[in-house]
Each structure stands twice: as C-alpha cells, then as structure tokens.
C-alpha cells in the first residue's frame, strides 16, 4: 500500500446517510464480495483460516453513507446476501474514513476501537480471525490504482 497518502478523519454530512439508506444495498455487497474473491484468486487469504468463515453471515455498515453490505463465505467463494433472514454472525459499523484508514493500513483496528470509531458486534472470536487474516495479507503493490495514488 502507498504509505505517502494520508486519509484524514472525516464524516460525511447527515443527508448522505439518509439518502444512502433509501438506495438499494445490493451493489455494496456485490462490490465487496467481488474484491474479496479477487483476493482469494490471488491466494492472498490463508486457507486454514478461510475454513473458519464457512457459512457465517457478515455485515459491513458504513454509517455516514448509509450503505451496508451483507455477505457470506460458502464453498470457497464470498457470496453477497441480498436478504438477511437472521442476525449476522459478525457486524462492523464505522464511518467511511475509518474503513479507508483500515484498508490502507494507516490506522490499526484496536486504535479505532479504543476511540469508538469502529464498532464490532457478534462473534468476537470470528472478528479477531477476520482482523488477523487481513493483517497477515501481503498486499501486492498496486501503484496503478488511481484511488491509491498519493
């Protein structure tokens, strides 16, 4: 990841969330599972830990955009879930800036958690597995991605 770019802490205005909640949520799930499956294809995620995610229901909620993604892991693939029929096994909630800071390894989840910028509910051990799995990924350098350019 490009270390030179810093993502400031920000919060989108309230109306974005109210608008976002009215929009369909399935595109978020598709984008997220697409990205996770791409990481699977590159063999970035360790198989021993992936087995522990089988059939678990995950929810990622972005508070200030009003968006949320629901997905599960089944038979070797992350799959979007369009209609939740039960409470998720693991749920994350944070503002967009916190997720971006996590993805770029600018902030550590414990820091965000201590500061109450990241909420984790559900199966705590599953949360730790996911966190440690993502921490252990050696992301390939992707300097071409315009989003990540400093």
């Amino acid at each position: 990841m490009n270390q030179k770019m810093t993502i400031p802490r920000f919060r989108l205005p309230q109306f974005v969330a109210s608008l976002g909640q009215k929009l369909p949520q399935w595109p978020h799930s598709l984008v997220l599972t697409g990205a996770l499956n791409a990481a699977l294809k590159l063999k970035l995620l360790p198989e021993s830990e992936l087995a522990l995610l089988e059939d678990k229901l995950f929810r990622v909620r972005v508070l200030d955009t009003g968006g949320e993604a629901l997905y599960t892991f089944r038979s070797g693939l992350f799959r979007p879930v369009f209609q939740a029929t039960r409470e998720p096994d693991l749920a994350f909630a944070a503002n967009l800036s916190a997720y971006l800071q996590l993805l770029t390894r600018q902030e550590d989840p414990d820091t965000l958690f201590f500061n109450r910028e990241l909420e984790i509910t559900g199966d705590t051990e599953l949360g730790l597995i996911v966190k440690n799995m993502l921490d252990a990924v050696e992301w390939p350098n992707l300097p071409q991605l315009p989003l990540l350019r400093g």
């Binding site: 360790p46 390894r105 550590d108 414990d110 201590f114 109450r116 984790i120 509910t121 051990e125």
Partner: protein, 335 residues
C-alpha cells in the same frame, strides 16, 4: 556513555514484521501459531512458511529475530513445548524467549550454543533470580516485569552481567506477569495455560442505544457511554461496584510511555527496549516503531539536549489504550 538500547518490536504477522524492520527495529519478537506463546489469538502469529520468510527478511537487513515460547508447559503435553524449542533452534532464530524453568533447562542442555532470554512471564524482578537463571541455564538477557522503579532497575543492572530489557511502550495490565490468574477466574483460561488473556470466544460487545456493554464469559466488565474510550475486555481493566461505588477497582486502562525518561534508561545501561503489542496490526507497529526509533536516534545525536517532540507524543497517544499514558512503575515514589 552506554550504547543505545536495541529497539525490540512486536510482530504478530509477516507484514507487521517487515514493517517493524523497515521502520527501524533492531530486533523483532514473534511466536508460533499455538499455545506455546502468550499471544495465542485466533489467526495471529506465524506458520512455518511465514516464519522462514520473516527470518530471511530480518536477517537480510541485519536485524535480529527473537522467538517467544513464553507460556508454561502443561501437564501431559511437555513434548509440544520441547518441539517448539527444537523448531526455533532449527529455524535459526537469534534468541528464544523462555519463561518456564523446565524448558530453560531443556534448551540449555540440548542446545548450549543457543542464546536464551528470560521472558517477562518468568517474573524475575531481582538480580538474584536473574543471576540464578544465568548460572543454571546460561540466560543472556532478562526482560523485567513492569513493576520496578527506575532506581530498582538500576540496582538490578549493577548486580548482574545479564543484559536487561525493559518495556518502553504499550498497554498496561495489573502486571502480575507470569502469575496472573484473573482471566482464569472469569473463563477458566489464562495466558499461562492457553496463551491468551480473556480469549475472544468469551468476549461479547453488546451495543445498546447510548452505551456499549462488555462481557467476559457473561460477567459484566464495563459499560461505556458513546463518547467514552473503550479498553481491552480484561477483568483487571473493568469497572466494578465496590461497596456502592463503581470504579476501576483494579487498574485503569492505561498505556506505558517512556519517551520522557529515555535519557535515564540509557544512562543506567538498559540493553534493550521492548514495545508491547503482538496482537496489534501492522499500522500500530509502524507508528510506534517509527516514533521510538526517532526518539532513540535523537537521543544518540543530541545527548543532553534531548527533548520529547510533541509530534511523537501525539502519535503514541493516538494508538494508546485508555485516555492516559504513564511512566508506569518507573517513577513511582513507593516500592
């Protein structure tokens, strides 16, 4: 003047290890993916492949790798701990950090050439205990528990040839290191037995409107308002009702930060400074390593004129647990 202490940084994953090396760690410490180390958390630590790559990376940059086997061999399973010692020697780590005297004896007899460090979990706070480990097991370095004042650390250093390593930054607990059973009281498992304090499977974060409750195996540990900082879900950092008053009855969530007394640490001859936090992410390792490296280099270059930069303190305060950083026991008036 003594040589600058080594900066010893935590690595719970390969990216954390590489980050620590890149940001100026002199040594990294890590553990196997099992209960032979005291940070045996789900998904954390190194399998054989990542360990080999980590050691290769650190050594290619001239840094040391210290491997922690710092839990106590459990009855009927001593072979597992011995196998870990064998594997560590096989991997070619620079030192093995041990706490269990039985294992120290095993390692010293079987591998007399292997450098051994006494873990903080070994709970040696006196030079007599440290010199015993030197005489019996050839221990070359001891990591001091975080309960000594700076004057006491100096007293230990003056009375031993064993190198002394102290903690420089990280979350504090009740610091009854290697002897704490609080976690077992709540959930039947503790660092000494399974390699984890308050294992995640017993932890529940319960979000309700306006507040969050933390429970450890059903026991209410703390209740945070939406604007209050949170801490790790351990018994020692809980708020409890004691005779009608609810407060941090054992220990307030706090982080140790020795930047202010770095010149004193150098002066008394501390050999290495350790950063806590193998459970933290590469981002934390980068931030803390970078800051401590800058402080140590500044101390080397400016000597008496060393002063703590506000930017260092800001960087460390951000990643700290609890809303305060302290000098811990180092500057305590009582002993």
């Amino acid at each position: 003047m003594h040589a600058l202490p080594d900066l010893v940084c935590p690595a719970g994953s390969l990216p954390a290890l590489k980050t620590a090396v890149d940001q100026g760690a002199d040594a990294v410490y890590l553990g196997f993916k099992n209960d032979t180390n005291a940070r045996n958390f789900a998904g954390l630590n190194f399998d054989h492949k990542s360990m080999v790559e980590g050691i290769r990376y650190a050594h290619s940059k001239g840094r040391e790798v210290l491997l922690a086997i710092n839990t106590f061999a459990q009855a009927g399973r001593v072979a597992d701990w011995r196998k870990s010692v064998d594997a560590a020697v096989d991997l070619g780590v620079d030192a093995i950090i041990l706490a269990d005297v039985g294992l120290l004896d095993y390692a010293a007899n079987k591998y007399p050439q292997q450098r051994l460090h006494l873990s903080v979990q070994g709970s040696a706070t006196s030079y007599e205990a440290i010199n015993f480990c030197q005489r019996e097991f050839g221990v070359r370095r001891a990591v001091l528990p975080r309960v000594l004042t700076l004057a006491q650390v100096e007293h230990v250093i003056k009375n031993t040839d064993v190198e002394i390593e102290v903690f420089g930054f990280g979350s504090l607990c009740v610091m009854n290191e290697g002897r704490c059973w609080l976690s077992s009281y709540a959930c039947g498992e503790s660092p000494n037995t399974v390699g984890a304090c308050s294992p995640a499977k017993y932890v529940k974060w319960d979000k309700q409107p306006g507040q969050m409750e933390t429970r450890l195996n059903g026991i209410l540990i703390d209740r945070f308002g939406d604007d209050e900082p949170a801490g790790y879900p351990t018994l020692c950092k809980g708020r409890f009702d004691v005779q009608g008053e609810t407060y941090y009855a054992l220990e307030e969530p706090t982080s140790l930060n020795v930047l202010e007394i770095l010149p004193d640490i150098l002066k008394i001859g501390v050999r290495a400074i350790k950063i806590e936090g193998r459970q933290r992410s590469p981002a934390y390792v980068a931030q803390v390593t970078r800051t401590l490296r800058a402080a140590l280099d500044s101390l080397r270059d400016s000597g008496e004129r060393y002063h703590v930069k506000p930017s260092w303190q800001a960087e460390l305060a951000k990643v700290s647990e609890g809303n305060q950083a302290t000098l811990g026991a180092y500057n305590r008036p009582w002993r």
